[in-house]
Amino acid sequence: MKQIKKIGFWLLVLFLLILICLPGIWIFVSAFRPNPEILAKPANWIPDRWTIHQFTQMFSINGYVSVPAFKYLMNSVIISSVSTVIAITIGMMGGYAFARFNFKGKNKIFLSLMLARAVPGISLSLPLFILFAKIGLLNTSIGVIIVYVAMNVPFTIWLTDGFFRQIPKEMSEVARTDGCTRFQAFWNVELPLAGPGIGAAAIFAFLLSWNEYALASIITRTVHSKTLPIGMMDYLGEFTINWAGMCAIAVVMIVPALILTFIVQKHLVSGLTFGGVKG
């Protein structure tokens, strides 16, 4: 009886694993095979012929390219990194303030910052589209960066607030009685301690920008500022879809995201829950 239960249990776990991983694996495999094979029936799991045709086509810099994926990738990297750096700097200051100081309406401000984040991207995009068109930020990387900074700040505050709380207040007090200024105490004592957590927050912010679609699809118009998620739509013709190409660009998008997730996972969970439970 116990044996059967155990087998059933592991079967369930296995089933879940398949459910989680299979769609991704399928996309990955499809990125490396020629288009006709994708259309094969019944499904062909192990490609007969591996090809990197889609990737070479995407990244060929000279000659005819249907989808300038390399440019999209560069846009994505630049926009995501710059907005992350700014968001983390601003958000860290905010998180530190929420964790260390008491001021009037602290909880209300915290809540309203979070609520600002709750505004759906598509609803926000309408006025942003008009405003950015007026001040000339439409279809520029700077415009997208500004938007992403604001989108990421509330969450960064939530996370860093939690991490700063985990550090005992006494540490900075001791440093200050020894003659440090508040900033020195922060820079030399508290920041290094919160370092891994802040790194996690940074990666989270990066991924949010990396993956964002609704706002970027409105603000970016051409190859100058389009990011990968928007570029992906290039493969979607009016009547046909280039499945292999889409799978290939999906792989380009997902591999960095997965690697970053892998690095960050431990700190991310503790940050989210700590900030939440003891906040």
Partner: protein
Amino acid sequence: MLIMPSILAIGFVIIIPLIFSFYTSFTSYKLTRPDSLFNFVGFRNYERLIDNTKFWYAFGRTILFLAVVLNLELLFGLGIALLINKITWGQRTLRTIMMFPMMFSPILVGFQWKYIFNDNIGLLNNFLYLFGYESAIPWLIDKYLAMGSIMVAEIWANTSIFAILLLAGLLGIPRDPIEAARVDGCNSWQVFKNITLPFLMPFIFIALTIRSLDVGRAYDIVHIMTGGGPAMRTELLWTMIARVGYKDANMGFANAMSYVSIILSIAFTYYFFTKLVAARRDLGQQ
């Protein structure tokens, strides 16, 4: 003040546009006719909204969608967390694997499931073909199946957030009360109901708060999977806003709609957040 930069950034990108869109929702602003920005029409957009049955269908569908999706995600997430909590060997690896869907871009999730559910070349129909279902099932074209397919994609993408956060909660539960209850003769259901669940409540609400911040991202998935079709059967508030605002260029009306959706999202988040505060207080952690 250290939080001033945050407030400035949010003010510039979120508050000012919101004020602006609040104003335009009272005008007949059309993108194609810039001068109409100053054509004040009072509450006419909102009146049109109330009369518009399509809008109310989309509104009802959005509520239904959120109710079904959030509940199922919570349920599955809890199940998976309890399951993984029992495993002693390889737990960390499993946890990492579970985080993967969380990091898929919603647009990618949409595309991936569009591919799987494709009636002609999709993985699912191919799989059914093996078992002799020769006729292709039009998952994304059938008026009922389409909504279900989108829900599956949404649940696949977001269950792991619940699972991960609830697992963190489960790992943090002190063992003593559970053992004491066992000694006193509680069965496992009673232990779960009276000890585990109350401890988990704050974590459930953290997960719900975080999720409700992002419900609008379902737009990406719907947009790529069906674009609101077939015949608007999967039209949610968000896709309707995009269509009216950009395709029909009717900004005033779209802004009136987006205000409804904003209030909806904020209400969800606010509700869960207050619940979170209350649950924390119950545990005496304040």
